[in-house]
Amino acid sequence: MAQRTLTLFIVTALMLGTCTYLAWGKPSSVVGLFVVSGLAVGSLYSLGGIGLVVLFRATGVLNLSNGAIGALGVMLAWQLQQWNFPQIATWVIGIATTTLLALVYGRLIAPGLAWRDPVVKAVATLGFALIVLGITAFAWEDDVRKFALPSDKISYTLLGLRITLTRLIVILAAIAIVIAVWLYLSKTRTGLNMRALADNRDISALIGIPIVKTETIAWGISGLIAGFTGLMFGDLVRLEPFVITFMVIPAISAAICGQLRNLGVVLIAGLCIGVIESMLTLHPVLKSVRPMAPFVIAIIVLMWVQRGRTNYFAGN
């Protein structure tokens, strides 16, 4: 616990220090705009990272297909809207589809790889991501599209920047999901099973933990979060399957900052990555390397938390 708190403190301090450096000498009104803008995108990174960590903690699988699954869900929701389906039905069907896709992988493919190295499991999900992306790109050719939610029309002003209700929902959802998942993992029987499974699958099986049931629930939750993240991303950023699919990359950076375990750090890291990425725009030289920010941050954090240890993926 103390170690986790220390990590949380270090990550937060590192991120705040970077933000302060980038904001130094700039008018506070301008800085405020970039901070709020970064928080809005960062909350999506957090949400994506949380989805990854929930699954990893229960199954030991780093699911790189979350972005592709989310992209398929939001494209389907958009398509149903074009066919004049009721809005709520389109969201429900979109999220239900992503949940189903995650469950299909979790029940049909993942068990076959259960005893393989974490890296092999992760690469398998990458293959699944490419298949899902291929299907999505085949079904929806490149075109001009826009996915909108009714909450886009309601907005509030914060530090001079208008924030739509949708963006607030994402930030609040990220915090709420962290709390809910933490409570679920620490206070419920299934949560305990998930943690046991993640720690040692062999012993969990020996002591009678229902592995298939526990993993199925974890895959379902992961698909649910991927679907929600996809809808939000399609609305707030871009309705382009490729962009949404590779949104998983900054989400992985956030998840790695939290060592694929610490949901609080994942939340803060996602938000900070968004803010740093946004504030890099203010730097005359570094603004051209903005897309590198999530990776650089993840590498620095990884090097710090892994000091003195070897082989992260096999570390469990």
């Binding site: 705009l33 803008s37 826009k146 962009v243 725009t281 897309p291």
Partner: protein, 417 residues
């Protein structure tokens, strides 16, 4: 009852014949109604189709025109064999495709090329092999600043300058922020020309380059605001432009700035996608005439597409540009001595001698000439996004600015001015 049915059937049949006649009224090449025969004349093209976009509209349209030509006398009676390759936006594949077409297949010319990747990669190769590329989808500086590539489209530079001119002259802009792509030879090149134009008028401009890999477009908007601009020129692919305008709408900036865009936003689905908020606020520079333009050549393009293209093939600006390149190529070849049409060097010389070809699709004359740069299409129109449709608000006007000075000088030398 039977009589009524018969009359109805006759009426339907007549209507259907009128429809058929209309589609078959397409005018192509020699237009003699005789199918071409004999040894085909090989013509090549390279387009890009993979994420992030499908640029096959130009080659689809050129292919439709060549099919029509082959049914109407071909080139001096011989058919065109149109060999089209997809580079999938991959530089290695682009180089392989060009080597295959230019060296192995020995095509006499490239017509309808529309891949900004292949143009960057292959421009020197075309020059080395003495082959002309009559392109239709140029986007990068290498394409316009090359001795052996000439395009019917304008690309981001010319169309952005057109948008900037409209912003200054009609919307009262004094300080423009140009939002471009952080891709070498695209964003800095085109937005840089906007900056030069504004400086030549004693006005201010700056540019923000958006990394296509960065999902966050909000920062680019904030950077544009921080520049102190009073007008924002969106010079992005349509998908990214829609995302950018969505965040501007979120900030309710529609009335706080004047808004213009280069051609990518001139897409039939854009007005509806943008929605009511942008109605009357967004002005787009269009490189060629409107898709439904009433001019004879534009109507002929539509008839060619209806009769010879796949119904799913786009009817857009790139398709217009592809048709135009193909039509000018066929016209040139048919004006050559029939014994020379297989000789690449002579075909290249004939293309380079093109001067003053006219079409209602383009605002100015099309020409090539021997030069180290080509941009014959540097005049356009402006359309306004209003009531979920585009409306022409400014007819053909010629673009100004330092970038066009050497081009205008070349036109004087060719006697076009």
């Amino acid at each position: 009852m039977k009589k009524t049915t018969l009359v109805g059937l006759i009426a339907l049949g007549s209507l259907s014949m009128i429809g058929t006649a209309s589609a078959n009224d397409a005018v192509c090449g020699l237009n003699n109604g005789q199918a071409a025969s004999g040894e085909p004349i090989k013509v090549g093209a390279i387009y890009g189709n993979a994420a992030p976009g499908d640029f096959s509209a130009a080659t689809d349209a050129a292919n439709a025109y060549f099919k029509c030509v082959n049914e109407n006398g071909g080139i001096h009676g011989r058919p065109i064999q149109y060999l089209v390759e997809n580079d999938q936006w991959n530089p290695e594949l682009a180089a392989q495709a060009a080597a295959k077409l230019v060296k192995d297949e020995a095509v006499v010319a490239m017509v309808g090329n529309s891949s900004f990747v292949e143009m960057s990669v292959n421009a020197p190769m075309y020059a080395e092999n003495g082959i002309m590329a009559m392109a239709s989808g140029c986007a990068v500086s290498e394409c316009f600043e090359s001795s052996n590539i000439v395009s019917t489209n304008q690309g981001p530079l010319a169309s952005s300058v057109g948008a900037a001119m409209y912003a200054v002259e009609e919307l009262g802009a004094t300080n423009i922020s140009c939002i471009g792509m952080a891709i070498p030879s695209v964003g800095n090149w085109s937005c840089g020309a906007v900056q030069s134009y504004m400086e030549s008028k004693g006005l201010n401009a700056s540019y923000v380059l958006l990394n296509p890999a960065a999902p966050d477009v909000n920062s680019a908007l904030l950077e544009a605001i921080a520049s102190g601009a009073d007008s924002i020129l969106v010079n992005l692919p349509a998908g990214l432009a829609i995302a950018f305008l969505s965040v501007a709408e979120e900030q309710d900036l529609g009335d706080a700035y004047s808004w213009t865009s280069s051609t990518p936003l001139y897409d039939a689905s854009v007005p509806k996608t943008l929605g009511e908020y942008w109605s009357g606020k967004m002005f787009v520079s269009a490189e060629l005439t409107t898709i439904d333009g009433a001019g004879a050549d534009n109507q002929n393009w539509l008839r060619v597409m209806d009769a010879y293209a796949d119904p799913a093939d786009p009817r857009d600006t790139f398709a217009q540009a592809g048709y135009l390149s193909a039509r000018y190529f066929v016209k040139t070849m048919n004006e050559m001595n029939p014994v020379n049409v297989d000789n690449r060097a002579l075909v290249t010389a004939a293309i380079q001698a093109i001067k003053g070809y006219d079409s209602d699709l383009m605002c100015g004359p099309y020409y090539v000439g021997r030069a180290d740069r080509h941009m014959p299409n540097h005049a356009g129109i402006i359309v306004e996004v209003r009531d979920e449709a585009f409306h022409v608000v400014r007819d053909c006007f010629e673009y100004e600015g330092p970038y066009f000075e050497p081009i205008l000088d070349a036109e004087k030398t060719l006697g076009l001015r």
